[in-house]
């Protein structure tokens, strides 16, 4: 296949990838979109095989490795529980990063195969593109590994900080530029290896100071990085499919990070520099006064909901941890049988990744047209009888609106307190991720239900 013809096909697969993302604008078109994505990938891979003129005996190995990877991927995709989606996505990001690094190294060692000149005299532009691809790929890889470990709970979700961290990171970033310059001027492979090592280190250091609940931003950010890494390699390989995809994924991840940051009313740099709430946390817990709370049991909750005409459910990360989404749906089914209107309100940063709650509710067969975003539903709380908060905390805290001293002041929150009554399922009175007390616990119309989210929901269903 001629180079021009294959370039046309790469362009087609790039367009198909655009259509794949376009399909996600509504759930009806999304499945077709995913099909376009698969088609684009198939075209890209087929064209690559066809454009290679002389097949070496490596072909059989290429196919075997493709098959092994494919089987592993398919197996994971079928087995993974929906609650583990953040870990899965973080893990997948690390694979994109690592393959970008491997391709870059391979191109560096054998530039003839990629038409980049010969070893020791690689074209300058290619060398720069390669360095960018490899460095961003390495950062994506090690950063995603840390994100994965934190999400999986293998590593503590609390931020790890040390003195001079920001200065050290800044120095490392500068050293990347210096190393790239040295690499280009000397063509010495040593600088390439040091560049890779430093990039891996930056990835680790960038993610360790970021706390567990900031993971939605981190995952989106790493998503973006994996795109830029792919684009860097795309420039090296002069492949338009890779360049288009890299740009799409890069901007997609960047937009998601922006949405997540806005959902927390924090600047991107504030999240990245990490250590959120570390100082305030100790201050607020030391002068905590005892305040009375009303607590109830499943019967009280069932009584309240049975006499309501509309209920709004506010799910949060706690629901995912307790795997309570199916029990919740059963409770809602029972409520609906009693002619009670039930809707779901989802905060942009509920859960550990963008859209996390939506997927879990979809898994539990909750129709997506009953699930609403913050802006769509926030006015409805004033007219609702009961708000059922399950596993969410900070996103309902009225202090974000009223208390300028609060670390979460200015963050958009769900106006749960405007409901006639609020049911709060929680294991204890402990503060949420932001380390601050939730005034909602002590409100007159709040009933605390201290229990495991799943057990409590099941019991309420029995009492309905």
């Amino acid at each position: 296949m001629s180079a021009n013809l294959s370039a046309v096909f790469y362009l087609i697969s790039g367009v198909l990838f655009i259509l794949a993302l376009r399909g996600l604008s509504s759930p009806e078109t999304s499945r077709l979109g995913n099909f376009f994505g698969i088609l684009g990938m198939t075209i890209a891979i087929t064209v690559t095989f066809l454009s290679i003129v002389s097949f070496s005996s490596g072909l059989i190995y290429v196919l075997i490795f493709l098959l092994i990877g494919g089987l592993v991927g398919a197996f994971i995709a079928y087995k993974i529980p929906m609650t583990a989606m953040p870990e899965l996505v973080a893990g997948f990001h690390s694979l994109v990063g690592l393959s970008a690094v491997l391709v870059a190294v391979s191109a560096f060692l054998n530039p003839e195969a990629f038409n980049l000149g010969s070893l020791g005299s690689i074209k300058l532009a290619s060398l720069i593109e390669m360095s960018i691809g490899a460095a961003v790929g390495a950062i994506t890889f090690s950063g995603s590994i840390i994100a994965f470990l934190k999400l999986q709970g293998i590593m503590s979700g609390s931020p790890i900080t040390f003195k001079g961290q920001h200065l050290f990171n800044a120095l490392l970033l500068v050293s990347i530029i210096v190393l790239t310059y040295l690499l280009c001027s000397t063509q010495s492979s040593n600088f390439f290896w040091i560049l890779l090592a430093v990039s891996f280190l930056i990835g680790f250091l960038l993610i360790i100071p970021i706390g567990g609940a900031d993971m939605p931003v981190v995952i989106s950010m790493l998503n973006s990085y994996s795109g830029w890494a792919a684009a860097g390699i795309g420039f090296t390989l002069e492949n338009s499919a890779l360049i288009i995809t890299g740009a799409l994924v890069g901007s997609s991840g960047a937009i998601l990070s922006y949405i997540m940051c806005k959902g927390m009313n924090r600047s991107f740099f504030n999240v990245i520099l990490g250590g959120f709430g570390a100082a305030e946390q100790s201050a607020s817990s030391s002068n905590k006064e005892y305040r009375p709370v009303k607590s109830g049991n499943a019967e009280d909750a069932a009584f309240l909901m049975k006499n309501a005409s509309s209920v709004i459910i506010v799910p949060g990360y706690g629901m995912a941890v307790a795997q309570a989404q199916h029990a919740l749906r059963e409770m809602v089914d029972t409520l609906k049988k009693n002619d009670i209107k039930v809707t779901y309100a989802i905060h942009p940063v509920a859960g550990r990744m963008p859209g996390h709650m939506n997927v879990l509710l979809a898994e539990a067969n909750v129709p997506y047209d009953e699930v609403f975003e913050l802006e769509e539903i926030n006015n409805d709380f004033a007219n609702a009888d009961v708000a059922f908060v399950i596993g969410a905390n900070d996103v309902t805290n009225p202090a974000a609106k009223s208390d300028p001293q609060s670390p979460i002041y200015g963050m958009p929150v769900l106006d749960v307190e405007k409901c006639k009554s609020v049911l709060f399922v929680k294991r204890s009175l402990s503060s949420g991720y932001a380390g601050i007390d939730n005034d909602l616990f002590y409100k007159e119309n709040t009933l605390m239900l201290f229990a495991d989210a799943k057990k409590m929901t099941e019991e309420i269903t029995k009492n309905l």
């Binding site: 999304s30 990877g69 398919a74 995709a77 079928y78 391979s106 360049i243 994924v249 997609s252």
Partner: protein, 102 residues
């Protein structure tokens, strides 16, 4: 004076960023998780580079480090391609509308 092909690639890149910007803003927030898994899958089109790396070289049975790195990259990217598209498919199947009979 001839224009360097790099400029054309840069044009594709910049324009694609803008396409990405508008397309992604139109994605409904409830599908943000599938968006992430599908972007993951498509960014593994990096496999084309891995295939070139794996097949590069002569026809004797000796593989260079460059080839072997290519093989590893192929399997990593393949995990992502199959895993990413299939898990997206699985998620999208779950998004259903309200049934009338309820």
């Amino acid at each position: 004076m001839e224009i360097d092909p790099f400029i054309f690639r840069l044009s594709i890149f910049i324009l694609s960023i803008f396409i990405g910007y508008y397309v992604v803003w139109s994605v409904t927030p409830s599908l943000h998780t599938p968006l992430m898994s599908v972007t993951n899958a498509i960014s593994s089109v990096i496999i084309v580079g891995a295939i070139i790396a794996g097949l590069a070289g002569n026809s004797d049975n000796e593989f260079t480090i460059s080839n072997i790195l290519g093989f590893v990259a192929i399997s990593l990217a393949a995990v992502n391609i199959f895993g990413g598209f299939l898990v997206t498919q699985r998620m999208l199947q779950m998004y259903k509308k309200k049934k009338k009979d309820k």
